[in-house]
């Protein structure tokens, strides 16, 4: 039978996307549709003394305006997205969730104060300018370190401080290890904010049909089913009365997984109130204020080693910036902790986490979701340790890798899935060796690098191994149906934002049913088609939904074989599925098409065996015991213009091991895209706030996303260490490309400026910042 899994199959969904025939949320157009625009706060922290909408209401074309006050009893905060872990003792956690419209005070620039509903967006924006608000500006909490100083202004007045959470966890006996360490290195590591900046901004269309008492919502969400459940609950509707469709989405990258955004509650609520379809499309400027961000952390880190380079322990006391609210719980900092020991066997670990409220947009995962920070931490400490120990940085890493025989390897800390973290499988050394070979690491260190430097060039090399926890639960499901036409319908709850699910998932089905990819119709992200599931996030789509589809496909295959065996009067073992037919092996004329079989399985008359299910359809779920840990290695050679500090990447190599590969073409694309984002996070993208928490670069002209000139050609190699945790043996890879890049940049730049003794303890960087760091080094000498 033909193999589909592992093939570089072209994507099913492409023709529609290429010809402008794919539906995105802003393409939805309904008769009588109204348009929303928000009045958003220009202050990061201010009391709302009064809101006057009278003038705005008088503008022709304005249909309605709402404020928190006008929502009356129906105004309430939340719901939160993720709860804090209950399994760790001595945790302090204050849950404060986003609100539909600000009441009493605003807590971040961009927080919505009022919403205007008008005949079109142009008028709505005009009316927004008519609204008069009296503010009493308050002192701003802009800095996460200052936020915890006594007397700091409070983001949430009902709390004693800006502490959102404090949690301690660890493994082993760190203090004992410290007492016996030969080398103790301490550093403060500073990582700043970035945005996901998907090309499509967010948007929602809600249509309440009073006659059928049904609400349809199109939403750029990565989690259509939980949105449906949350909105239904909020509006007092049955889940079955609400349909959420996440159509084609122009990139997710994490923030579209945040639920429920204020708009996701408000727009449906207003549609019900007005009995009309309502559309809100976020514009790019809003996206910088209304969509979540990520990444600010400050770590006071310490690493313990023996003089032979064996890591005895790692500890870090760190602050995580949650922004004005914390609806996403501890996902990001827990991911940081899960990755703070990298790919290494570190027997003693201690983490002291404080999550801090600030007057900035709240933070939720963006591609990497806290993992890059953890990898940055450990890899920086190792590079510094290598210099202190006078060891080759690669050799130091090799000495500490988790060896293959140690899997499954327990980290003995809680991860973001609220379970004890275990790395299921891995084989790190071959991946590092492969990457080193691909980039000619030794040759560069010994010959090429010195030769180029002798010519006056400033070049540097880096190689960073990393791990990535993926494929977390709780579960996903899928229903597969063979139609009388012979076409196969697959419905699953996850959404798609470009990952090629329509194709890679179809490959899983094709492998079992022997049907051409083009005959498999996949529906993702429509709660009417499948209403159990959590969403596309944390590199879990292929693993969790993929395996649910796999399980469902196997069940359908079983039904096919059972019925075909009966009809063809041949034992099941002698049957094969190919080209949409069930055939008797070696007797091709004894066959029946899957379509005909499906028709046979759904008779209009006659008797059936008790317990028979009609048709050729099955639903299955998959919930992994724990996440599968993928890993990889990135290596890079860069050249820096020593005068301008502009950087050019000369070579970029990726070795990726995410277990069984479903579609290498799609996987490569994910890796490339992740690396591009990583490059952005390392050297181009930074959300720059002033001391009043005002965002200074809220446009794509000033927030610098890499273009085709900044991203090099990336050479990708694959290894496959199958995961024992799921039948497909697969692990996630959606975020892998982005995770090690900041650490890699830091290492390669330090390598380039080794003579100057450059030490990089922060991310992101820029030519300007690099210039400053080098000047500081110069004046230190």
């Amino acid at each position: 039978m033909r193999k589909y899994i592992g093939e570089r199959i072209k994507r099913n969904e492409d023709p529609r996307l290429l010809t402008g025939q794919a539906l995105f949320v802003d393409d939805v157009d309904l008769p009588g549709m109204l348009h929303a625009a928000f009045l958003r706060s220009d202050y990061a922290h201010a009391k709302l003394l009064s809101i006057d909408i009278t003038q705005a209401l008088q503008r022709p074309g304005v249909v309605a305006i709402y404020t928190a006050e006008l929502m009356g009893d129906e105004w309430q905060p939340g719901p939160p997205n993720v709860s804090p872990p209950a399994t760790v003792e001595d945790i302090t956690f204050h849950s404060r969730t986003q609100v539909p419209l600000a009441k009493d005070k605003v807590r971040h620039v961009g927080e919505s104060i009022a919403i205007v509903i008008a005949e079109n967006r142009y008028i709505a924006e005009d009316a927004v300018e008519d609204i008069l608000v009296e503010f009493e500006p308050l002192e701003v909490v802009a800095d996460i370190e200052k936020a915890l100083e006594p007397g700091a202004p409070l983001v949430h007045d009902d709390l004693p401080s800006n502490l959102a959470c404090h949690m301690v966890q660890g493994r082993g006996d760190y203090l004992a290890a410290r007492a016996s360490a030969d080398v103790i290195i301490q550093r403060k590591i500073d990582i700043d904010r970035g945005a996901a900046a998907a090309m499509e901004n967010r948007g929602i269309v809600a249509n309440w049909d009073a006659k059928s008492q049904h609400l349809t919502i199109w939403d750029t969400t990565q989690a259509p089913i939980p949105i449906r459940n949350g909105v239904a609950a909020r509006l007092g509707l049955n889940q079955s009365q609400v349909r959420v469709i996440a159509p084609f989405i122009g990139g997710g990258f994490g923030p579209k997984m945040m639920m429920h955004y204020p708009e996701e509650i408000l727009i449906p609520w207003i549609s019900v109130k007005l009995g009309k379809p309502v559309k809100w499309i976020e514009d790019r400027r809003e996206n910088f204020f209304a969509t979540t961000q990520e990444r600010r952390q400050v770590h006071d880190a310490e690493i313990l080693l023996t003089k032979d380079g064996k890591i005895l322990g790692l500890s870090h006391k760190f602050l995580h910036d949650s922004g004005a609210y914390d609806p996403y719980g501890l996902t990001i900092p827990l991911n940081t902790e899960s990755h703070a020991c990298g790919a290494y066997d570190i027997p003693n670990y201690y983490s002291d986490l404080t999550v801090v409220f600030t007057n900035k947009m709240y933070t939720t995962p963006i591609r990497g979701a806290g993992r890059p920070q953890g990898i940055f931490l450990i890899e920086r400490m190792l590079d510094i340790a290598a210099r202190e120990l006078n060891m080759d940085p690669l050799e130091l890493r090799m000495r500490n890798l988790i060896p293959p025989e140690a899997f499954p390897y327990d980290r003995e800390i809680i991860d973001q899935a609220f379970a004890l973290l275990t790395f299921d499988s891995g084989n790190y050394r071959p991946a590092i060796e492969k990457a080193a070979e691909m980039i000619d690491y030794q040759h560069f260190i010994q010959h090429e690098g010195p030769r180029l430097r002798a010519e006056g060039k400033t070049v540097g090399i880096g190689i960073i191994p990393f791990v990535e926890t993926t494929g977390v639960g709780p579960y996903e499901g899928a229903r597969i149906t063979i139609e009388p036409s012979g076409k196969v319908n697959v419905a699953t709850g996850v959404g798609t934002q470009g990952q090629g699910h329509f194709t890679s998932f179809a490959q899983i089905v094709a492998e079992q049913l022997g049907v051409d990819i083009l005959d498999i119709n996949l529906v993702t992200g429509d709660s009417a088609d499948f209403h159990w599931g959590t969403g596309t996030f944390a590199s879990r789509g292929a693993v969790v939904a993929g395996n649910a589809i796999h399980a469902s496909a196997i069940r359908v295959r079983e039904k096919v074989l059972k019925l075909a065996s009966k009809l063809l009067e041949t034992p099941e073992e002698e049957l094969e599925l190919e080209d949409g037919f069930v055939r008797v092996a070696d007797v091709p004329r004894l066959s029946i098409s899957l379509g005909d079989l499906a028709a046979e399985a759904n008779p209009l008359r006659g008797a059936v065996e008790p317990g028979t299910e009609p048709g050729l359809e099955a639903t299955a779920y998959f919930g992994p015991k724990s996440g599968a840990t993928a890993f990889g290695v990135h290596a890079m050679i860069l050249e820096v213009d020593p005068e301008t500090l502009m950087v050019e990447i000369k070579r970029y190599v990726v070795v990726e091991d995410c277990g069984t590969v479903l579609n290498p073409l799609i996987l490569d694309g994910q890796v490339h895209g992740g690396v591009a984002m990583g490059i952005g996070n390392a050297y181009y993208e930074q959300l720059i706030f002033d001391e009043n928490a005002q965002l200074l670069n809220a446009s794509l002209a000033d927030y610098l996303i890499p273009t085709a000139c900044e991203v090099p050609r990336i050479e990708v190699a694959h290894l496959e260490t199958r995961s024992p945790l799921n039948p497909l043996g697969t692990k996630g890879a959606g975020e892998a490309g982005a995770i090690p890049v900041p650490a890699l940049f830091a290492q390669a730049l330090e390598n380039a400026f080794a003579a100057q003794g450059l030490e990089i303890l922060e991310m992101p960087l820029s030519p300007n910042r690099l210039f400053e760091l080098l000047k500081e080094k110069e004046s230190d000498v």
């Binding site: 142009y122 400027r285 005068e643 670069n697 002209a701 890499p706 300007n768 400053e772």
Partner: protein
């Protein structure tokens, strides 16, 4: 990010356009290519009550040679037209060199020469280049014509000699003197971004091969284009050499500019870039001047 409402006129003649501008004064804004103005409208950073669209005035779009061998450009000549014009390549190679670095292809399809000048963004290549080339700008209003040399035209950030009822209609460039070389050097984070710092340079050598004239104009260093006068004084009459270029660049960097710090670059980094780019611009210009001699 939708633009605010405005009254809209799209005249087909300069006279009509000037009538609208005279009538509305400060309430009106001329719309040229729109590649700078329309983003401002979309951000609602500008809210003119009246927009006078110049795009139908055919008379404002031309590229011609002047009697003395220089160049004469209509203000509404689009960047892509300038980019592909052989006359520009011949008469104003500095402009031809700059073109591919100005924004993107898509912006250049609509953006205009005059629009860029009138907008007076301190980071705009054409602003600095027009000073380096000693361009002259012709402004027309219902009251008549005023002319300004480029170096007198730019008054500050987004501020020029243009009165509200005036239109920039034409730009003239003198012919390049003999033995003149040029260069445009800029550093930008991504190829089509505004420069962090840029230098437009024109260097003329005398018969002895010494520097007779050097017009070094820095952009993205403050409120507007800055002519490096002290560097120029240093270079005057000197024989070109790497040491001379280095010294001139140092002077430009430390004495001719007082750069601002912003989110993209600090003042000291900008000075460093001035230092590097001025030196490179001088090297290139002199190289080219020598090539023109042969």
């Amino acid at each position: 990010m939708k633009p605010p409402p405005f009254d809209y006129y799209n005249p087909t003649s300069v006279g009509e356009a000037l009538t609208h501008l005279a009538e509305h004064g400060y309430d009106a804004k001329a719309l040229a290519g729109g590649q700078s103005l329309i983003p401002m409208l979309n951000f609602r950073l500008a809210q003119p009550a009246v927009l006078v669209d110049l795009n139908r005035i055919a008379d404002l779009s031309f590229i011609r040679e002047t009697d003395d061998g220089g160049l004469h450009l209509g203000a509404m000549t689009r960047h892509y037209q300038v980019e592909n014009d052989p006359l520009v390549a011949e008469k104003a190679p500095l402009i031809a060199e700059a073109m591919p670095q100005i924004a993107t292809t898509q912006i250049r399809s609509r953006g205009t020469f005059g629009g860029s000048i009138a907008h007076a963004d301190p980071s705009a290549e054409l602003v600095a280049i027009s000073v380096a080339l000693d361009a002259e700008f012709h402004l027309r209003s219902q009251s008549g014509i005023r002319k300004f040399k480029a170096e007198d035209f730019f008054l500050g950030m987004f501020t020029t000699q243009l009165d509200p009822e005036e239109l920039l209609v034409e730009i003239t460039l003198p012919p390049l003197p003999a033995r003149t070389g040029w260069a445009l050097q800029e550093i930008a984070r991504r190829p089509h971004d505004f420069a962090l710092v840029g230098v437009a340079a024109l260097v003329t050598l005398n018969e002895l091969g010494h520097i007779q004239e050097s017009r070094i104009v820095l952009f993205s260093v403050g409120d507007g284009p800055v002519m490096a006068l002290k560097a120029r004084a240093l270079l005057q009459g000197q024989s070109p050499s790497p040491e001379l270029f280095r010294a001139a660049a140092e002077t430009a960097s430390m004495e001719d500019v007082d750069p601002t710090s912003d989110i993209h670059a600090s003042a000291s980094y900008r000075r460093q870039l001035v230092r590097v780019l001025t030196r490179q611009a001088l090297e290139r210009s002199v190289e080219r001047a020598h090539a023109r001699v042969k």
